[in-house]
Symmetry: C2
Subunit: 348 residues, 2 copies
């Protein structure tokens, strides 16, 4: 059981709120439940316990640990306080992403430490079953891209293309793992543009960044296509070379920052260093952004089973954006692309 | 400026993460940004300050307070620590919904208190402009319901109806304020059912619970329709009476729990007390669930400008669910429905 991998000491109690860690540890998905107190408590020598609103009784049918249900009108913190006392808690381990409200009542009572350091190490290293799920999510986004190539882009709105992408993700059995980005022309240079009603024009590059979530695991892909003609192909080729070189550098033991540096050097050498304005990638799994982050300053050595994106880009304000992103796993010590859609520049 | 309404004392610093409080205080919407440190710091005697990833420079163009941008690879907590020292902070006020990671570095340095108590009082009382925005969101969900009545329900999937609802919300200029629920027959009795591929049958009740978000403000409506024939009309009428009575009880000064009790008494008198398994309502505004909660134990006196739902329901496991929900505001001391779609039982 994954809960045992946490390796807690006596006196430690991990508090886990619904979300991706909760799903990882229990296999149950209560993502988005945060308004009413809902907590998993894990200690070394006891059965794991869930404190949850009574409302969720049915969904918790299969839970094999202890279960404490509370009703509207009761104070659920009373239950948690009693449990912590019974279990002789000295230190709480808390997710940095959990709502601060969970720990506010305990700050003066217990030592509090981030849980993330403990869970990061186990979640980062995907087992074979997890990698299969990510592959399934990747095969959906590959298929969506291939189908998109039959689409007329010129004259369509960005939002039309995004709608098409989302519909096909649903039809293929997934759901979008984040808000689909379709950014044409100058919109491609805006790092937080998602979609707009802008009409896609001949000569535009169109950045499409989207993902699928299946069985609780995510994929995340970006492809950039040229509309009607190949302009600025040398910029595209620079991004592609950076992505390829960074990918080729992946192997067990390499540091995250080294992959980032490799991508960055290719782009800087062509004079676009200032135009690659974000990190090279991020881990991928239950969350679409998770450890390990492929970024400057991250000296973490990558290990077997880690899955992450490699997604360099060049952005020229007022003009264009180009990004190419694949999902990569370390399998048998080597980098393996899990997304396989065409990376050479395509004209649509 | 809303920031001044917080009424902070010297030595206090409010830390506000992107989300609805941030939007309320600054007018800027960075909902969903939580992976990189992004914080608003408010103190009594200084300009409010934002610490944000450099990535967001463009979006922060219009910000008139202090701005500290940090780059990937830097430790943004260093900036926050310096700011807190400069501003002679003694106590941090933190949102209970903010990520715990924001306060973990400061637990041993400063007193920490929930911010929610301070901001709740001001956010609950909507000004005229906010109520106009909520009305706009309500007019969309009313229109969607009216149009739905022309739809053939029998033989369609729940997901088909949900898709139709979502599409019309988008076309009318909003976006869904939460995941649309379409629950037919026995699915209506499952409190967390959203949608499924289940085919809607003659004789089913269909619970449709959906909302629109426009200009940052939400609506939230539920209507239940009968497919093909009026069965169990007396159960429907009980819910409707509970909703009506609860609505009629609304006025400035009444407690939240009293409205809940009124709805509950109508339903209990007809013998369905056990089948009304949730609170009567919740506040509504920038968040689709916010204060005031219309629930047992909430002795808060409701005040001018408060906006909340009234949504009693009856759920019979394995058989049916019925819920009727309106959005209600206290205007000139009295309750006023902001949603106006037909509440009498309709056969589709």
């Amino acid at each position: 059981m994954r809960i045992e991998k946490l390796g807690l000491d006596e006196g430690e109690c991990a508090l886990v709120a619904p979300g991706s860690n909760f799903f990882y540890l229990t296999g149950m998905d209560f993502v988005g439940v945060h308004e009413r107190l809902f907590l998993l408590l894990v200690t070394k020598n006891d059965k794991p316990a869930i404190v949850a609103p009574e409302l969720y009784e049915n969904e918790l049918d299969k839970w094999k640990g202890e279960l404490y249900l509370w009703q509207d009108g009761e104070d659920p913190f009373d239950v948690v306080k009693d449990l912590l006392k019974e279990r002789r808690t000295k230190k709480l381990l808390v997710e940095e992403s959990a709502p601060a409200g969970i720990i506010l009542p305990f700050m003066d009572v217990y030592d509090i430490e981030p849980l993330s350091r403990r869970i990061k190490d186990i979640r980062e290293r995907k087992d074979a079953e997890e990698i299969e799920k990510i592959k399934k999510a990747c095969s959906i986004v590959d298929m969506v891209f291939e189908e998109l190539l039959d689409t007329e882009f010129e004259g369509k709105k960005e939002s039309d293309i995004a709608k098409r992408i989302d519909e096909r993700i649903f039809e293929l059995g997934g759901k979008p793992s984040f808000e689909t980005i379709v950014a044409s022309g100058a919109n491609g240079a805006e790092p937080h543009h998602t979609i707009s009603g802008k009409i896609i024009e001949r000569g535009n590059f169109v950045v499409m960044d989207y993902g699928a979530k299946v069985d609780g695991y995510c994929s995340d892909i970006t492809r950039t296509v040229a509309v009607g003609e190949k302009k600025d192909k040398e910029i595209y080729d620079t991004v592609q070379e950076a992505q390829q070189k960074a990918f080729e550098s992946v192997r067990k033991g390499i540091t995250a920052e080294s992959i980032d540096r490799t991508a960055r050097e290719v782009i800087a050498k062509k004079g676009y260093g200032e135009n690659f304005t974000h990190r090279t990638g991020h881990g991928l799994g239950i969350d679409v952004h998770e450890d390990p982050y492929i970024t400057a300053g991250n000296k973490e050595a990558l290990d077997e089973g880690m899955v992450f994106t490699i997604e360099p880009g060049i952005y020229i304000k007022g003009s264009l954006g180009i990004r190419i992103e694949d999902d990569v796993a370390i399998i048998d010590g080597k980098g393996k692309r899990l997304t396989g859609a065409e990376r050479n520049l395509l004209v649509v």
